[in-house]
Every structure is written in C-alpha cells, then in structure tokens.
C-alpha cells in the first residue's frame, strides 16, 4: 500500500492533476511502531492537506521520498474514484508500512481469537499507527498487504476442510476487531466500516503466495 503515486504508471500526470480535486484531503501517519497502545501519534508525517502536487508528492518540494512516505498510489486513486463517482468530499488517512505481516497490524484481542492458548501481544503498528486513529469517524478502510505472509504455515482449514494459510484466520479476525474498536473509539459514530482489500498480484518469488491469496478470499466466506 505504501507504493507512491509518483512511481505508478502515469504517476507524474496523476501528481500534476491532483490540484483539480480540492475536495480530496489527506493525512499520513508517521511510521512508528510501539510496544504499548498509543492514544496519539507522537509525530505526524503529513498533517491534513488539500489535494495538490505537494500534498501527494514529497518530491515536489525537492525531497527524495526514498522511504515511500506519501502519497500511497492505491489510497489516492481509490479515493479519487469514490470522489468522482459520488461527488462527495473524501478524506484519506494514509497509514502503512511496506513489507510488514498482518500480525503487525493486529491487536491482542484479534490475535487471541485465532491463538487462544498463546501469549499474544499486540502488533507494533497496531499500537503505533491504528490505535491512535480509533477516535476518528471513518466510513471504511482499504488494505493491500500479504506478501510478507506468503511463507505462513497452513494451520487453518477452509470451508471445504482443505488446508488454509494461518492468514485465513488472522485476516478476518483483524477486520472484525478493527470494526469493533473503531466503533468504540468513536463512541459509536463509526458503524460497521466497509473493508476492501487487494488480493495479491503476481511477482517473481520462490515463495508461493497462492495460499495467502486463497486465505484472503476463503477467510471471508
């Protein structure tokens, strides 16, 4: 999800056209893991900004964004589609960290759902980059992750009783948990936020991601 807009196909065009959409607003979290749940982020990478070339691309200010901070190509382009089709203002909260496993984004409660007998601790990105956002009122979330889980054990069973990646439990457990915690954190303002995800693309790898792809879908059935 971190992949930058400017690095996508037609990226420079997307960056240049971003000033045409002042009703798109965006915010980027600081990549900050924490051992304890945080109420507020100690730093913010990009405070709320109106869509513009400098808001969607750090390079516009002459700073090389080697750490892929902002703006996520998929987050921006998804939000742009929603804005163009609905005509409504869209706020985008860009909180991501490339190369991380799903467990990094799960609370202790979510992990306990899948591994009730283990000594689970919340993931560092959950504590540092999700927990501080819970009092926002959100309408939905999108997710593009899973490459880092491609080597996971086949410790679950799918709806047919066939072997399924551990992801098949962790992923839906995280979604349910986020929904509940965003509801509680917003004092009931966030209700059943939608959750959209990208099933992994193909890439050159010795690890076969098919079980994660199937886990992403079969875990939803």
């Amino acid at each position: 999800m971190a992949f930058l807009l400017e690095n996508a196909f037609n990226g420079s065009t997307f960056v240049n056209e971003s000033s045409n959409y002042p009703l798109l607003r965006m915010f980027t979290s600081f990549k900050d893991k924490s051992d304890v749940p945080l109420i507020e982020q100690p730093h913010v990478e990009e405070p709320w900004a109106v869509s513009s070339p400098s808001a969607v691309s750090m390079n516009q200010a002459g700073v090389d964004d080697d750490n892929w901070l902002y703006m996520s190509a998929v987050c921006y382009l998804f939000g742009l589609h929603i804005h163009q089709h609905t005509g409504k203002p869209v706020g985008l909260v860009n909180t991501n960290w490339g190369g991380t496993p799903v467990e990094f984004w799960m609370s202790k409660d979510a992990l306990d759902t899948c591994e009730p007998n283990a000594t689970n601790e919340a993931g560092g990105a959950y504590n540092g980059m999700i927990k501080p956002l819970l009092n926002m009122t959100i309408y939905g979330a999108i997710w593009y992750q899973g490459e880092a889980n491609s080597g996971d054990p086949l410790s679950e069973l799918d709806f047919q009783g066939l072997p399924l990646s551990r992801y098949g439990c962790h992923f839906p457990a995280m979604i349910e948990d986020w929904r509940q915690k965003f509801n509680e954190g917003s004092l009931g303002e966030t209700v059943d936020p939608y959750f959209g995800f990208v099933q992994l693309a193909s890439w050159e790898s010795d690890i076969h991601p098919a079980s994660v792809r199937w886990g992403q879908l079969a875990g939803m059935l």
């Binding site: 929603i82 490459e147 693309a201 193909s202 890439w203 076969h208 098919a210 199937w214």
Partner: protein
C-alpha cells in the same frame, strides 16, 4: 463477511518494475477494480466488480471436472488462455500438498496439468491428457481442482478467465469436486 470487497490483481504482473517485481506499477487498474467494489458495496452504485467467482466443481463419470462460476458478467466467461489449471487425486505421499508447479506424469496425490475448455457461459470443463498423468480418474476418485496457483501465474493482463464484457479476472481457487 458483510461490507467487504476485493480487487483481483493476479494479472497485473510487472516483471520489469525498477522497484522489484513485487512492486507492480499499474496501480490505476488496482484502484479502478477496488473502487468498483467499494462503489457497489458501500456507496450504492449498481456496478459490476467481483470478477468470475468459482462456486462449485463437479466430477463426471469419465473423470472430467466442471467448474461453475457466479458473477460472470453480462455475457459470461471469457477463457482468454488455457494456462493455470491443475487437478489432483487425493491420496499418496503428497496428498495434494505441494504448493509448486504441476508434476510431470504425476500420480495419485500429485498436482497434474489440466486443460480447460469453455463449457457454457458460466462453466469450464477441465480434463487431463494421458500424457500428463498415470492416474485414471473415475467416479470413485476424490478430486481437487485448482486455478492460478503458481506464484507468478500470468503475464500482464493475460489471466486465464475473465468476465467477457467487463474484463475483470477470476481469482485463484481450490475446490473439492463433488460427484
């Protein structure tokens, strides 16, 4: 799970991405497919988004398998190319466990190459060639069928199965064929 949607990206392969092939650059297609799902599921739009979804597999007496799809779009399936299909008869040492590519002249428990053919606008008939396997599949076999299981399953925009008019691809699946 309610109020969820997904975008299938298995055909957005980018072998020559300067950032590494895991970092595909056609994010516009990713976002377009994902937004179609979002608009339909969460914003009240009447728009196609799912891609063909394998819903059931049936084992015929001669060992062929029919895979039936839902969400096939306005004019049904497009079998754009024949790669990516495998069958396996449960049993043996491997018991259909290998994640990797099909086994040449495979036996019971090995994944073996299979050949798809468009059977109807919503189903695909999957057969094996005797040159690919030494297993005689029949009505008593327990057969699995899977699609697009390889790590790099397809080249750019060249998946095997699409919704014909809408151009959305089917995702990978593994199904137990019932008889």
């Amino acid at each position: 799970m309610n109020r969820t949607f997904s975008a299938i990206a298995i055909d957005l392969t980018d072998r020559t991405s300067p950032f590494g092939s895991v970092h595909i650059r056609d994010k516009a297609s990713v976002a377009q497919r994902l937004a179609a799902g979002g608009l339909a599921v969460a914003y009240g739009a009447d728009t196609y988004w799912q891609g063909p979804t394998a819903s059931a597999a049936t084992l015929h007496a001669n060992g062929d398998v029919s895979v039936t799809f839902s969400n096939c779009g306005a004019h049904g399936l497009n079998l754009a190319n024949t790669s990516g299909w495998e069958l396996c008869v449960l049993g043996g040492d491997q018991n259909c466990s290998q994640a990797n590519s099909p086994v040449a002249r495979g036996g019971v428990g090995d994944w073996i190459n299979a050949v798809p053919d468009l059977e109807s606008s919503t189903s695909i008939l999957v057969t094996t060639n005797s040159s690919d396997t030494n297993v005689q599949i029949d009505n008593d076999s327990t057969v699995l069928v899977r699609y697009a299981w390889d790590g790099l399953a397809f080249e750019y925009m060249q998946a095997g199965v699409y919704a014909h008019d809408e151009g959305f691809p089917a995702g990978p699946f593994v199904l137990l064929a019932s008889n």
